[in-house]
Every structure is written in C-alpha cells, then in structure tokens.
Subunit: 612 residues, 2 copies
C-alpha cells in the first residue's frame, strides 16, 4: 500500500485525470452536497487536496497553476499550511482579488486553453443549481464550457473518512409539536397548489429541511443534529435516501410506521431519473447533481422551498421548548459567570486562564444541563483586541491568556433537545473602564433594546428594522459590518433561512414564530469587541385603541435569559424607558432562572439583576 | 361637420376598427408617450373615450363590454361620469378586483375569442418597454396575443387638442450649474464604458431627462417645466426631436450653438430605424413604440438611465438655488399663514372661507415671489376629515368651508427658476385641541425629526431609514400607507426617481445631492389628517473621532424653511434633543426668512419661531 500522498502528488494525479477528460481547469469548493454550514469530514475535499484546514475556501487547479481562494480570516493559516504545496493563496477579501469566474475568463483571454477549447470541470454535487447556472452563464460568455465530473472520488481512496454512520433517531412530537403526517399533509397541499392537476415530486437535499419534515435528528455533523440524507416528496409517497448503517430498529420502525419509504443514500439519483411530471426544486438549496438527474421527459421547475418557510415559523410547542431550554442555558451561564468572577483568577495553583479554558468551562456547565446535546456552534471567546475579530476562534495552540482586567466578548450557544440557544455577552473583567468603552457598550445596548422593543405592522421585513439597532451608534459615527440578526432553528441550525435582520434587501417579511438573533456590535481593532445578543421571536401585538388602520401588529418576545454587565453602562446616554426595560428584563431573568440554581448561585444572580 | 360624438358612438366606432384589425380587445391607458406624471391634454385618450375625467385610469373595450379600471380616489367621480357611457367601473383598490391582464385571461378561458384567436390591441407609445413585456408574457401564457396599433388617432379627429406648441427656452447655466457640453461628455463617457469599442446610441423619451441633459425648459404640461420631445444621444452627435412650432430664434440658436441637431417630433421613429450598433434604452422609461423602431440589424440593450442617476445628484449651484428658492417660498408661506390666522376669518364681508380660497390665497402669495413660475403640483388643502384623504383635491364645486377651529392639512409647492419646493404643514385653526390630536401630531413630528437628523454610512438605502420616521407612531400602533419620502427634481418634477424613502425594496443608495421629502403622517378617517413635510438633501458628514471603520458618512440638510405649529405639540412625548432641534431650526427659519418680510410679517414670524 502506498503511503499517503503529498499535495504535489495529489495535484499531479488530478492533472492526469483532467488531461484524460479534456479539462483545462478543475474546481474543488469547500462544500458538501447538502449546502451545509457544518460538514462531515467525508467532504473535506478542498482540505484534502490543498492541505489547508480552514473551513472556507475553493481550490482551482489548472495544468500549470493551483490556487486557493479564501477570506481574510484564514490568510495567516493558509499562508502557513500552503507553504510546501505550490498552491497560491488568493486573498478574496481584498478588493483587487478577482472572483474565480473572472480569473478563469482572464485565463481564457490569455490563450491558456487546451486545443482551442477551455473546459472547467466541477463536481455538480458541490454546487447549488443557482450557483452552477450563474457560473455557467458567466463562463460561457467568455467561451468557457463547464463539465460535471467528480475527479476527487477516484483519487481520494486512501484514508477518506466514510459518510458518518451514526444512528438517526425519531424526534419526539413532544418537542416538535406537530406530527410527520400533519407536516407532510401541509407541504403536499402547498405543492399541490402550484400544480393542481398534475403529477409532481419535490426534491429536498438540505439536511435541516429533511430533519424537520420527518421529525428525525442525528449526529452526523458538528453543532447541527441532522442526518445525512436526501428526500423526495410525492403526492402519494415520500422517500428518505439514507445509509442502511444509520438505521437501528427504532429508527426503521419509526420511518415505516410513518410510511416513509427507505432507500440507500446513493439511490436518490436513479430514483429521480425515474420521476415524471413536474419536479419541483429550490434552486438555492438543491445541488446541481440532483437537478441533472431529472429526466428530459419530466419538467423541472424552481419552487422556493415551502419546507424552509414552514420550518421557520415555530409552533407553540417549539416556542415553549425554547423558553424552557433558555432557562437551563441561563443557569449554565450564571454558574459560568460566577466562576469567572469569583473563582477563575483565584484558583489554588495560580495557573493562567486562557480563552480556551473559558470555552471549556462554559461547555462543562452547559453539559450538566438536562437535555443538552452539544454546542450550537464553536464558542467565540475574544479577550480584549481578539473580541474585535468578528469570527475569532481561539485554538489550544493559539489563544490569549485572560487576566482579571479589560473586556471579554463571549458568544456561545447550546443544542438542547427542546431548543437551540445563541447568546453573546460582553463583560468587563476588572480595572478602570475607559469612558469610550462605556459609550460603545451603551450604544450597542440601546440598539439591542430598540430592536427588542419595536412594534411593527405585519408585512415588515427585517431590513426595515436594521437601522433601529444602529441609530445610536450611527449618531456617533460608528457602525458594524455583520448582520444584526440571523434566523435560528428549533433544535436545528443556529443559522437558519429565510428570516433575518440585515442591511441587505431580503423580501421575506417577519412572520409569527420566526426566531432571530438581536446582536448589534462595535469593534475597535486591537482594543475590544462589544456585542450583545439575545434571541427574540415574533409574537402578535394587540391593536391599540388609537390605531388608524386595520394592520395586524407584531412585536418581539425576548427568549434569552441572562443579565447584562451593568458596570459597562454609561447611564448618561440611557433613557428612563431603557432603564425600565432592563430592570423588567433582569427581574424576569431572576424569576425564571433562580429556581434552577443553588442558593449561592441564586444570590449571585440576584446581585447581577439588582434594580438599576 | 359631425357634432362631437357620444361615448357610445366612440365605442361603436372603435369596435368597428377592432373588427377590421381582428382584435378581441383594445386597451386605452391614461398614459402619454413620455411616462409623464402630468400630461398634455393631447394625450387624454382615456378621458376622451370614456368621459371620465380623473387623472388615473385604464379603459378596456371588448366587442360586448367596456370597463374602466381606476383607484378608490376616483370611485365617486367615475360613478357619476360613467353613468350614461355603458362603461363598467372596475374598482382596482378593492382586494377582489382582478388586474386587467387577469381579467383578459379570464375572458380567454371563458371562450370569448374571435375565430379561436384572442388578440389585444394597444398603442405601444403608451406603454413602457417593461410593462409591455410583462403584459405580453402573462397574456401569452393564456394564449392571448398582443398587437401594437393606434386606434384612437383615426377616431379622435374632432376637437383633439394639439401637442402643446409653447416655446422651449434655454435654462441658464447660472441655475443649472453645469453646461450642456459637460453633461453630454459625462453621459457619453458612462455609456462608452458599457460599449467600449462599438457604435452606440442612447434613446431618451422621459421629458425631465431631456430637459436636464440639454438645459432646456418649457411650459407644455402643468406643474413640470418640460418640453415635449424625444432625444437620441450618440458618440458623435445628439438629436432633439421637437415640433418646429416650439422653437423661436433664441431656442433655435441655443440648440444650434450647442450642436444639438433639431428634427421634427414625429421623425424620431424613422431616425431610430436608421440606427445601427448597440441601442441602449431604459426599459422602465422608454416607450414600447420607440423600442419597436429599433432595426433588427441593431442590438437593443436595456441600460438603467445614466441621465436619471446623474440628474438626481444635484450640484452645488442647484443646491444653492434650492436654498434661495426656499427662502422665497417661506416668505410666501409666512405671509399666507399670517393671513389665515389674522385676516381670513375676520374679513369685512363675513364671506365663508373654503379650502379653494385657501389654495388660491396661497398661490397668490407665491406668485408675488421672484422667479416663481407655477405651482409644483395641485395644492392639497384638507380641512378636518378631508385631511385624512391622502390624495384629496378640493374643487370649486366640491370643497369644504373652513372655520376658525379644528385641523387643516396643507401640502403645496412651487416651481421657481432656481428650485422646486414641496412642503406640508398641519395647523390648528382654533378651539380646544383633543389630546389625541396632539399625540398624533407629536408622533409625526418626532419621526420627521428622526429622519432629518439621522447620520448614516454611504451605501445606505432609503428603505433602511423608513422605520426611523415610523418608530414612535408604531409604538402607539399607528402607521401610514404612503411613502415617507419621494425624490424631488431641480426646477423639474416634484416627484423624481430613483431616490426615495419607502418600505419597498429600492436598490438605490442615497447619494450626495439627492433631494427627498421627509413627510410622515397620521390619518384618522372623518377626523383629521396630519402630515409634516420638509425637503432634505444628502450632505457629507465628517467622520467622528470615535469611528471604528473607514465608512464615508452622510447626513441630511433640511432645505425647507417654515415653522411648525407648536400649539399641537405634546411636550410630554418630546426629548430635550428634539426640542433643541426645533429651536435651532426655528432660529434658522427666522434668520433666513425675515429679511424678505415686511416688519409686520417678520414680527409674526418671530412669534411663530419663539424659543420653546
């Protein structure tokens, strides 16, 4: 048996296959077939070919060049990991960095082509239908062709991790709040409306959609409790394409009881080839390989996924689960913050505390909570200037020591069987607080409260509310580049479409039961990062007596239950209404969380929630 | 000679022509060929065929039916004016009213077709390229064809008003701030960038674009000082298509001096037929007839009009003109409000005052001002409940008596040679003010101030700021349906694309020199309407010392100069910062306007601007 190949050997082998296929370039994106945010190691093709271990990147290989596009978070890491690889780093956050398609068009114009033809190979499983089409259109204008072919599979035979084989498990209706049959009936009715008289099928390749639709969960990827699978819904049947190995008798019985046909994971393509009538797919979510499997005798038609839209509107049981999970999460956070304040820096052995210790400690307190499954994303513990790096991730070999002074930004969350949490608190660990730090913290807090307390008519979109969270820092000439709020799933993805609050145009109105985060921030390079984040959900607001129109009114309920660091507030900037809101919130935090705490922890919480 | 035809006779004659052309339906929209908001009477085809004299409506004629679609503003008027016409009123503001295309598709499905074919005739001059295409696509799905043909021209021979023959006049660079040559060079450079190596032409059919590009003005329609014409810009020439009759020697000399070729108005179609290369048109602005004239040997290509984008960004001279015009407009308003307060209800002959008297009086004070040309739109004087009707227009035979009590909403504006104004003030004429009236007025005022005072990073779109103007009334469960701000031209249209502040997604970011209105409102049916409107312009805001990013910052400068009715303010709802803003604004109003006033008027203004 051959030893594991070097990057140079892998590139040489790939180029041999490219030559056989007549390809001038081959593209390996850091994606999986399910448009997942977190991927199973089986699909780390970009990492395998390049030796670069960042989460985001795309490798482009031509006959004489190899390049990796990645963003500024990974410039340093990529520089080190690519050193021996011959792969050139393309810094895609830089303004002068060409896009991959522009770069390819440039290659074509430079005459770098094979027999007058320039064809780019891609694995269609790794592209959404929409992205594939957009690339194809742009490249074809430059005379470049695109060919669907998987060249990594024949190369990566040694040591490739299998597709995860963890068991899927039924997700109790006690948590989901709706039966599979009810969900299937609702979605079928919606699709029928698009195709009243005809035979149809709906292709589903996003894992959170499948998990929601069938009330199943799994352990196949980090942070998201999903099951690697495909699904096809038809008027008279539904089919789950999943590895046999993932089914124990409970799982199999559950699926069979619900009339969900089981087929092998790889069988999805043949199954789709056999479908006739109208084949609905969401071009933004379904991969190109699935789309290409549709028979020419059927009619493929884009349909924004009705599952995504329905999944986003949490039902009463899901929301009640979220509320209960939030109490447990807050109990863990209270215990953690007490440890940080009273124990961390006075430990017997005087060992220095690092950002990683903080991440581990917080995880350990969450892990003690009932129904805790895993974290909902990698904790961001950013001490001082590290807090200003928006996607900062401390690692054991590269993390800062934390001292009892200065600012700490802590963004973390848990997956509980009854709900998903995501919370950011920024706390001052000791020493004199600079006046600007207080002002920054207060601008963020005022924006956070403005969004949490807005009333708005039905039909309002998140981007209409974004400036409410920014208005106070804008007045001071400060802003931030990330979204103000992302959608959150129910014991599913911590980042969920389609609802959000961002500057970008997003046609989705906020709907009852949507959960979003409320997380404005201010970041001072090298000094501190401040972000304050709660999860909030859209609830009905009664029409007032003085209403002038028939509009239906909505408001937000704050779900997250954790005190703010009031030592960081500049009270001269706060209105009486804002202080009253904090007092009411802190009272609620104490009332709901203290019953879960020891007497000492409850006393600590009472102190943190003291009336201002 | 025949007497003028009745509506029934006109419909019969039209149906005869439809039969000859094989048309199952013919559509007469209330449009002109230039996508004008205000139209010359020559194009009142919808009004001519129907006898309905509202400004907005579309008539659809089939072999056995005739229908008029119009909105709720005109239901009453249309009901009366259509009485003898056999034309059925379609209430398009009602939720259950089908769109014209849906209605036509329904006719087709009902089997109402001619020899198995159903073809709809339209005059392509009256449709934008985009609207025509959208209709064509929808109708073709139902098997309905569309045919471009003008059937009104051969019918409406008796008494049709000519195309206006008023003289065009050069618009001085002292007001425009930029020479024709400079504008032509800038626009040519922008179009060249879209077609670097080829021959091109840019078609222009919107009258405000032509007026801006060539620095010409005219008197062809009410409220907008434009010249009925077409223009074609090419790399090496530009051509204005305009009636000979509109040119005196000054106009002709001006055009010739600037190398603008003159051709007859109707010659535009032949001229376009002769063009080759890439023919750019803005599908939202250019009419379908112009588009259809493009030769198959040329390449028609949509390009968002660079003229619209450049016109919207007022230069320093235009802005200075606006500021000066605002002072004169404010002098007229001050004189008017003093008349309303001190004279209107104490006139010797005790004649009752009506909304129309108020409109006339305001006009008469404006007419005394230097550089005043005409009103910029029809004044809205809405007394009490009439103020709650958003597009209310009093007419001599239908206007309310105004008494020295209750609320008056007054929305008006002027066209001055140096700038366009548009202002709304709501005032209390006497009697006890209900607490809710004060609260409503104050919510509106707070929103108006919030928008006027926001700082925002470059790239921000109007729809991101809309909620700032609504947040206070939203908190009380109140909202309004109209836009918060429309774009305003410079001695051109009082409603100008592309900048605005609305709930709708509009991809246009706010740019330096954009002028928009800031006009939130609250409307209580049968009680009162409250709207407060200033014009504001986007100005650079210096980066603050505490900025965290490299963003360029913008703010608004308030252009309008007129006091608010402070008797309507509920001070318990106001912040100290808001009161300080009003005081500073009132001080500025007094300082800038009082030099234009008589001593008595200045004393009145000082009282209205007294420090709160």
């Amino acid at each position: 048996m051959k030893k594991s190949m070097t990057t140079k050997e892998k590139l040489a082998a790939l180029r041999q296959l490219m030559r056989e296929q007549g390809l001038a370039a081959y593209i390996i994106p850091g994606n999986d077939p399910h448009a997942s945010e977190y991927m199973a190691a089986h699909w780390f093709e970009m990492q395998w070919i390049s030796g670069f271990n960042g989460e985001t990147g795309t490798v482009v290989v031509t006959m004489d060049q190899a390049l990796l596009w990645t963003d500024s978070r990974y410039y340093l890491q990529a520089g080190i990991e690519l050193k021996e690889s011959t792969i050139e780093l393309m810094r895609e956050s830089d303004l002068d960095c060409p896009s991959i398609t522009d770069w390819l068009c440039g290659q074509m114009e430079n005459g770098t082509c094979q027999n007058g033809k320039y064809t780019v190979g891609v694995n269609p499983e790794m592209f959404s239908v929409n992205t594939f089409k957009a690339w194809k259109n742009q490249l074809s204008e430059a005379g470049i062709g695109m060919k669907s072919v998987d060249l990594i599979k024949p190369l990566w035979t040694e040591g490739r991790p299998a597709i995860p084989q963890d068991k899927l498990y039924p997700y109790s209706e006690d948590y989901a709040g709706e039966s599979v049959q009810s969900k299937l009936a609702r979605i079928r009715e919606m699709v029928n409306g698009k195709c009243p008289n005809g035979k149809w099928a709906l292709l589903v390749s996003a894992l959170d959609e499948i998990a929601w639709l069938f009330n199943i969960r799994g352990n196949d990827v980090e942070f998201n409790p999903v099951v690697i699978s495909y699904a096809v819904l038809e008027a008279d049947r539904c089919t789950l394409f999943v590895d046999e190995a993932k089914l124990d008798s409970a799982g199999r019985n559950y699926l069979e009881f619900n009339d969900i046909t089981i087929q092998p994971y790889e069988a999805v393509f043949d199954y789709i080839r056999g479908l006739r009538g109208t084949i609905f797919y969401d071009g933004a979510r379904v991969n190109e390989a699935v789309f290409e499997a549709v028979s020419p005798e059927a009619k493929a038609q884009h349909l924004p996924s009705p599952i995504i839209a329905e999944k986003a509107k949490k039902n009463a049981v899901e929301l009640e689960g979220e509320r209960i999970a939030m109490r447990r999460d807050a109990a863990a956070l209270t215990r953690f913050f007490r440890w940080l304040e009273e124990e961390a820096f006075t430990n017997k052995d005087q060992r220095p505390i690092t950002e990683c210790d903080i991440m581990d400690k917080l995880h350990s307190f969450r892990a003690l909570q009932e129904n805790f499954v895993e974290e909902s994303f990698g904790t961001i513990a950013g001490y001082r200037g590290n807090g200003a790096i928006v996607h900062y991730a401390a690692t054991p070999d590269k993390c800062a020591e934390v001292k009892p002074e200065g600012m700490l930004l802590l963004d973390s969350g848990g997956q509980y069987l009854d709900g998903t949490t995501d919370i950011t608190r920024t706390v001052w660990l000791g020493g004199d607080i600079p006046a600007q730090a207080k002002r920054d913290y207060t601008y963020v807090l005022k924006g956070h409260i403005a969004l949490a307390t807005v009333r708005f008519p039905r039909g309002t979109r998140g981007n209409q509310l974004d400036a409410l969270a920014k208005q106070y820092m804008w007045a001071a000439g400060i802003t931030y580049g990330h979204g103000t709020g992302h959608g959150v799933g129910h014991f599913l993805g911590c980042h969920e479409a389609p609802q959000n609050v961002r500057t970008d145009n997003n046609p989705t109105p906020l709907e009852l039961g949507h959960i979003i985060s409320d997380e404005p921030g201010i970041y001072r390079t090298g000094e501190w990062g401040i972000r304050t984040e709660n999860l909030i959900t859209v609830i009905p607001a009664p029409k007032t007596e003085v209403a002038t129109t028939d509009d239906e009114w909505y408001a937000f309920e704050t779900l997250t239950l954790c005190f703010y660091d009031t030592s960081l507030i500049d009270f001269s900037l706060m209105t009486p209404a804002e202080i009253a809101w904090i007092n009411a919130y802190h009272q609620r935090v104490y009332d709901e969380v203290s019953p879960l705490l020891s007497a000492d922890d409850a006393a600590y919480l009472a102190k943190k929630c003291a009336k201002l």
